[in-house]
């Protein structure tokens, strides 16, 4: 199973196995990582699963996957950067094994 490393704003790091086909938001929420909230459950409706994809991985994750994701990123509480994504929209694949995401200080 691919692993995803979540690095919280305070530097705490969590390595989580996330099944292929599951999204990066669920990988955090189901494993008690508090830096991602994902209150709407993955429907591009709340902007509380904001993450910064590590520079080494942005080529593989790509940018926002839809105009809706780009629009919703404007509703995040923390600063939006070029590597910002809503983690519910990053679906784990074999190619993303080892993915590193950094979590913002706040989600709302």
């Amino acid at each position: 199973m691919p692993s995803v490393t979540y690095i919280e704003a305070n530097g705490a790091s969590h390595v989580i196995d996330v099944p292929i086909g599951e999204n990066v938001m669920h990988g955090a929420v189901y494993n008690g990582i508090e830096g991602i909230i994902g209150e709407c459950g993955g429907g591009l409706a709340c902007a509380t699963c904001h993450c910064y994809v590590d520079a080494a991985w942005t080529g593989r994750t790509g940018g926002p996957s839809s105009q809706d994701e780009t629009d919703m990123l404007e509703s995040t509480a923390a600063e939006v950067r070029p590597e910002s994504r809503l983690s519910c929209q990053i679906v784990v694949t074999a190619e993303l094994d080892g993915l590193i995401v950094h979590l913002p200080e706040k989600q709302f």
């Binding site: 459950g41 809706d68 509703s75």
Partner: protein, 422 residues
Amino acid sequence: MRIDPANPVPPTGIVRRIGRDQVPDHVPPELVFEPGLTYGPEFLADPHKFMAEMHGKYPPVFYNVGPFGNMWSVIKHEDALFVLRHAELFSNEDATPFPRDPAEWFYFIPIEIDPPDHRKYRNIVDPIVSPQGVLKLEDRIRALANDLIDDFIDKGECTFDEAFGRPLPVLVFLDLMGLPRAMCDTFVSWAMALLHSNDRQIMGDTLKTIGDYLKTAIAEKQASPDDGLVSRIVHAEIDGQPISEREAFGFVTFLFIAGLDTVFATLNLIWVWLAQNPERRQEIIDNPDKINAVVEELLRVHSVTFSGRTVAQDVTLRGIQLKKGDKITSILPACNFDPGVFPNPTEVDFNRPKKIILAFTVGVHSCMGAHLARLEVKIALQEWLRRIPEFRMKHGFKAEYRPGGVVGPETVPLVWDVALIP
């Protein structure tokens, strides 16, 4: 107070204030209003117009007094986000005041459970109700919508609420729960008695009847598991221990209450709008790839409910002192008409940039059924407009809205020309 979900006890120290005589001293008199929300004649004449116009008539935070209880009310989008996202300040304890037998108390789970326990329950059902999870139901919902339409399409008319708006979400809910479709009519009658009788005796008796049925269903699923939600809940573990009987019962009962009425009211509102706006109907038909934006915008302007909390500790909001024990409600439809967030708020515009809408609230208690509801509305629109693209309200129709916490028209009589069916 943190409650123990496995050992439910009736809440204590709940203060209910009703009417102008029971306004607490810390409420400034200039913030006290009696708008008649959910019951007054002005509200009932056109509830969504009324709620949209609240932005000019009431302060952003005001104290709403009335016969069903006094409460702070917020109408600004950002204030609702704040209230709904701070469970430590605004608790869900006593947020769902359906009458229950004190000797056999149970919590409505997860809505009455605040963090951190709340997430443990959500994790049980979230995979089923996630956007990906509900897609597994798509074919069945589509077939169901068509079966319902088959029953009346050749008649040239139907009472939409009875023929489509009610049975579609109820049947989907039964499928999702793993309960027999034959229970549809019974569930409908229970839902009506529980949610629309406005009589606490009837509500209490009905909740008991529903509870007796659900206990039997729970026992059956314990003996023979399946892939429905009831079975998933009764076989779930909380902190490594099997879920307790009280927790499973409260969870399943809550899903019953939550799952039946809101989509019904939403569909009814949307179909009145569709019938009265033929050119917008055509716009939807002509832009099939925009269907998700259409659904979101229709949900924004046709939100049907409110979200109440109890203030858990003294806090100020926009400089106003709220005290522990006060009730506070986010008037979600009004928040969705906040002109600061949605310019020209009453205009239905399928090209708006995507923003957070409050149809399903936000925060930890954000509606679990939101993605199922979106899917149901989407499929209903697609299948209905494919098969009955031209329709109108029956001659002489004048919308009458039912009072109460779920806003919708009493009845939606539709007619169409059978010769124009594609």
